[in-house]
Amino acid sequence: MSIDNSSQMPDLDFDTPALQRLRKIRKAKDKFASAGIAFGGISVIIAILLIFFYLLYEVAPLFQSAKVESWQDGEQQVAPYAVPGNGNSLYLTMEEQAEIGLRVSDQGDIIFFNTRNGEILLQQRPALADQFKITSFALASEASRIFALGFENGQALVIKHDYKATYPDGNRVITPYLSYPLGDAPIQLGDQPLELLAVNGDEGEWRIVGGNEQALSVAELILSENLITGEVEAETDIIALPKLNLAANKLLLMPDRRWLLIDGAEGKIGVVDLKARNGAQTTQVLDASTGEITAFELLLGGSSLLVADDKGQVSQWFLVRDENNAWQLTKIRSFEAGSQPVRDLTIEHRRKGFATIDDSGTLRLFNSTAQRTALTAQLAGENADHIALSPRANALLMEQDGMLSLWQVHNEHPEISWDALWSEIWYEGYQEPEFIWQSSAANNDFEPKYSLMPLAFGTLKAAFYAMLLATPLAICGAIYTAYFMAPALRRKVKPIIELMEALPTVILGFLAGLWLAPFMELHMAGIFVVLLTIPIGILLFAFTWAQLPNRIRFLVPEGWDAALLIPVVILATLFGLWIAPGIEALLFGGDMRLWITKDLGITYDQRNALVVGIAMGFAVIPTIFSITEDAIFAVPKSLSYGSLALGATPWQTLVRVVMPTASPGIFSAVMIGMGRAVGETMIVLMATGNTPIMDINIFEGMRTLAANIAVEMPESEVGSTHFRILFLAAFVLFLFTFVVNTLAETIRQHLRKKYGSL
């Protein structure tokens, strides 16, 4: 009897249309999944790379050089036009939007014109100018928009140009007008023609210096507003100055109205102290140039003097207090301005910058703080007479051969140079070059100080003290945990260390700032005593333990020593704190904190580097611990068994065999820990005073790059230099940690490979 099974087998056909369709769908799904996952995966990775490129993108404009080009009005390029009005220009400037220009001519015409085409919008002429010739011109400051005209009859007139913006039909219309801040009446400074003139002042008090080389006098004005008529009334006081003992081409009065600077002939400059004890007196005559001075201006804020000469030299000067407490006009820095004579120099209205044009028609833009030439551009042929910058420093007006041309200037971040960020800079009002971070202040003519050095220093200082605590504790702990500890205990210790790593740093920072800092201030001596009592206590206990009979020692299984030590450490700490007051009384006269400030003369801040070191050390310990522990644990057991079998003690095996093998891993652990300490924000923010100082003193605070970003970023103006510098700080942090971590990671991977083969 034969059974034919085959006929009973179900007929399996894997090629039915339905299955074919299913296969197709599955294939499509598979393809789709591959593509989707590849796309998703790659885009996540790109997103990560984006951080790098975006930071770079925000930082890059800082280092772009400036550009200047013909002004574009819509599509149309603005063509040069004839100088509006007659006579020679005494002064050229523009209003905020660079739509309206102002020209003061030596005929006494004050002309407002459209900067695009030279159309005259308003032309005024003081009545005085009809009768008398104008003999001098003086500018108080670009920012104040106040200038003075000196006449041949010894009178001076102070004028302010002002602008009103209105919005009829939603379009902005700017209307220029003139006003007389010191009253309409001219001020009589003497009967000689005013060949020299200088003016400066603020709200209520003004000084005008005028006259000629033979006789100068000062008018002191105190302004008050008449409550009834609303008119300004000036109380004027005229004092004659002693005769100058040098030839003078131009005078400048500093805003404090105390110092009068004189542009003398043959490259000399003179300094006159108007408020010296026995009347005005010339305090200094200096050689500023080997040639003739061609431009003599005060920088924004009025505390720096800029001197340009016919040798193409431009230098910055300001008053510095010397050892005898006397103010000396000192040359601070000079600028590269080519070799052609400088024809005109104009200062920026809002920044510590200025522009020069020389005989060859080369325009240069400078920034004084950064000592940087932001731009050198050949603008015209020869004979460019005047240049003027708009208040926003985005437009430049140039007069050449009776023609005016308007230029667009792109110069966003001139205050940044390598030197400004990383070198000592001599800032206005300081005795010497210094590293200073001070990004903002209340007044407008403030010189921003963007030295990253104090921040970088603070970052490294905080990291250093943190590592000082964390490295020994973490590495020793990891050695013990990986090599000596009983597995059961190890399973308990590791989660606690992981928890330590996960603790929010804001909590550590808060405890450091509000609990640890006052505690340490009170128990200063205790902290240092405890540093001694703990190791001594541990060793004492260990030695005593070794003396105990085996019967007792074997009660505690091998590898549980650490648990035994917990009460020892606690007792040693308490003992240390208990004896500390006695030691303090014995050695430091009862109060170590006081002793440090008084006897050692070291500044003590409550929130100092020691507090940060402990708190941040706490944050870094688990990072170093985990990686070191992994590295030591990964050393093949056969190596240590071999060593032990040859008769080495466990400690010898550890030091001579295990540690050298694991050392690259430990190194990478320290690097990664360092990376974490450098970038930590909240702890430093909360546990230090955040003062950007450069001092290694452990009892003083610091400000780190990261904390600085957290403090200043929210109030920084988008796109400003300050904003971009904060991005630069972030970029520096990013690069630093990235490089350090990559190095560490590469070492670890290399190590892993090596062990894999063992």
Partner: protein, 562 residues
């Protein structure tokens, strides 16, 4: 067993012991820190007894009443320098920080007193403590009650008598009445009126949007005007109702006498809670304690965040973390699957792995800077230009907010998820995958039906760790959306319900802000400890669960590999 010292040092065991000491110190530091936070955080809610005493310093005597908040030993020398007449033989003096409250009366609510100068210490049973909506706590004796300005009840003694207790109960009843009215007022103000204001603002934006689009059809505008009129009418009604409630709310006041004997009148509406701590039994105190903890986690903050609860901060943290996990999980998992299953293993993947690992080490503030620049100003600014031109110049998404905070933190934590998921994927034995492929499954099917389910606990670990990290992160949030006091929660009943553009409160930032920016740090400190405790507890819980899942997973795969 006797061991000589040289022998002992030679064996290297001192070093071993010192290493063991390092572990012990680390353990003590962690546990001590947690203990410190726990003790200080939990202690705050306990209704401490109020001590009344005479305090004599340099001949001046005052009567004080308050809770002891802190204490320390100070060197007598230091006190002498400060001009305090200290007994000549004393080397150290005990100094206590006394919370005396009554900021409206005395100016400051904390005072340092030297224990030795306190005399006639007592704990009067009828000394009451009142938590107020402003000016902090009040300590004193209840003297009388006023209704609409006229005295309705009063008592003169200081001892606990039935009459005094009756007055106290009367006060408690009036307080309960005021509190219930306060709840109604809050309901109307936050609920109904809040909705109306919200809708009015939306109408304004709609109108502006119509104008911008150049719609000239008047009917569209009329519709908006009609709705606006309707809302305004509703508003009027509510406003009247509120006025009545406020009148009722302000009806009662109490007269109290401070320990120093000064009479003070306090509006009962200003009082949140009043109790007699010295008269409370243990059960009362426990009840009070639980009520306080509940208030802490469920109530809004009062007095510049130094009193009351932290509910908005908890809510904001949870909201932000949830949004973040929704974003980070798919992306992290996809990236890990790509790296492990799809990408060709080689130099490039190694490089990417190193980069991803390192990103976990990049300072969090850098992410904050990136988030602010790229998400807020760049993306947000463009979104505003495209979708919300009607709200300009006020930014909608072009300002720090919940969405950008979650996105920034998602970017910050994506390496954590990638690393954890990759580890999970790498632990799945090849055999499992090959088995599935051998049975004819496609790669995608293998991945979806076999590999991912097995790796899901690993992903979970990654996400939990990411959440733990995000919950504790503060520095980047300070730049991209956290505020000290958010006027409303990011989730409410107003369309579109979830307000991604809103700023929010966060536990970590709350700690920083209250602990360091608060005008009254001393009063705020216990609350900061409590907040820290809550945050640590949440993070510890998350971490331990991640560790537990991971360990469980390891065991499982060990079994598979056998």
């Amino acid at each position: 067993m006797r061991v000589s010292f040289t022998e002992w040092t030679k064996s290297g065991s001192p070093w071993v012991w010192l290493n063991a000491g390092a572990v012990a110190i680390s353990m003590i530091m962690v546990i001590g820190l947690l203990g410190l936070i726990a003790v200080r955080g939990l202690g705050h809610f306990w209704p401490a007894d109020i001590m009344q005493a005479k305090y004599t310093e340099n001949g001046n005597t005052i009567v004080l009443a308050g809770e002891i908040a802190d204490g320390e030993n100070v060197p007598a020398e230091q006190l002498r320098d400060a001009g305090v007449a200290v007994p000549a033989d004393a080397e150290f003096m005990r100094r206590n920080l006394l919370k005396i409250g009554n900021r409206d009366v005395g100016g400051s609510d904390f005072i340092w007193v030297l224990d030795e100068f306190l005399s006639e210490k007592s704990k009067p049973e009828m000394l009451f403590a009142a938590e107020r909506r402003e000016w902090g706590n009040f300590y004193g004796y209840l003297r009388g009650l006023k209704e609409n300005g006229t005295l309705v009840a009063s008592h003169d003694g200081y001892q606990k008598t039935p009459e005094y207790m009756a007055l106290w109960h009367d006060f408690q009843q009036r307080l309960e009445r005021a509190l219930s009215i306060h709840d109604q007022i809050k309901d109307i103000e936050k609920g109904a009126i809040g909705s109306i204001n919200y809708e009015l603002e939306r109408l304004r934006l709609k109108q502006r949007s119509l104008e911008l689009k150049g719609v000239t059809d008047q009917s569209a505008y009329d519709e908006l005007d009609a709705r606006r009129a309707e809302l305004n009418a509703e508003y009027e009604v509510l406003q009247k109702e509120l006025l009545d409630l406020y009148t009722a709310f302000n009806r009662d006041s109490l007269i109290a006498e401070t320990a120093a004997g000064q009479q003070v009148e306090i509006d009962i509406g200003k009082v949140v809670r009043a109790f007699l701590p010295n008269n409370m039994g243990l059960t009362d105190k426990i009840g009070h304690y639980i009520a306080k903890i509940w208030e802490f986690v469920s109530d809004d903050p009062r007095e510049a965040n130094t009193e009351g609860g932290i509910f908005p901060a908890i809510f904001g943290t949870v909201m932000m973390v949830l949004l973040m996990s929704v974003m980070v999980t798919p992306f992290g998992v996809v990236a890990a699957v790509y790296l492990r299953e799809y990408a060709k293993q080689g130099f490039i993947t190694r490089l990417i792995r190193i980069a991803v690992n390192n990103l976990a080490g990049v300072p969090s503030i850098v992410y904050g800077v990136f988030g602010l620049g790229f998400f807020v100003y760049f993306l947000g600014g463009n979104i505003d230009d495209l979708f919300f031109p009607e709200a300009k110049p006020a930014p909608t998404f072009g300002t720090p907010g919940l969405m950008w905070a979650s996105l920034t933190l998602a970017l910050l934590t994506v390496p954590v998820v990638i690393v954890a998921t990759e580890e999970g994927l790498s632990r799945i034995p090849r055999a499992v995958r090959e088995g599935s492929l051998a049975l004819g499954a496609t790669k995608a099917e293998t991945l979806w039906k076999v590999v991912l389910p097995m790796a899901s606990p690993a992903m979970m670990t990654g996400v939990i760790l990411a959440i733990a990290r995000a919950a504790g992160e503060v520095a980047p949030l300070m730049l991209v959306g956290v505020v000290k006091l958010a006027p409303s929660l990011p989730l409410d009943l107003n369309y579109p319900y979830l307000h991604l553009d809103q700023k929010f409160m966060h536990l970590g930032f709350h700690i920083y802000d209250v602990g360091f920016q608060s005008p009254n740090v001393e009063a705020a400190r216990p609350l900061v400890y409590a907040t820290a405790l809550l945050l640590v507890a949440v993070i510890a819980l998350l971490n331990f669960s991640a560790i537990a899942i991971r360990n469980h997973l390891r065991e499982k795969y060990k079994a598979l590999e056998m």
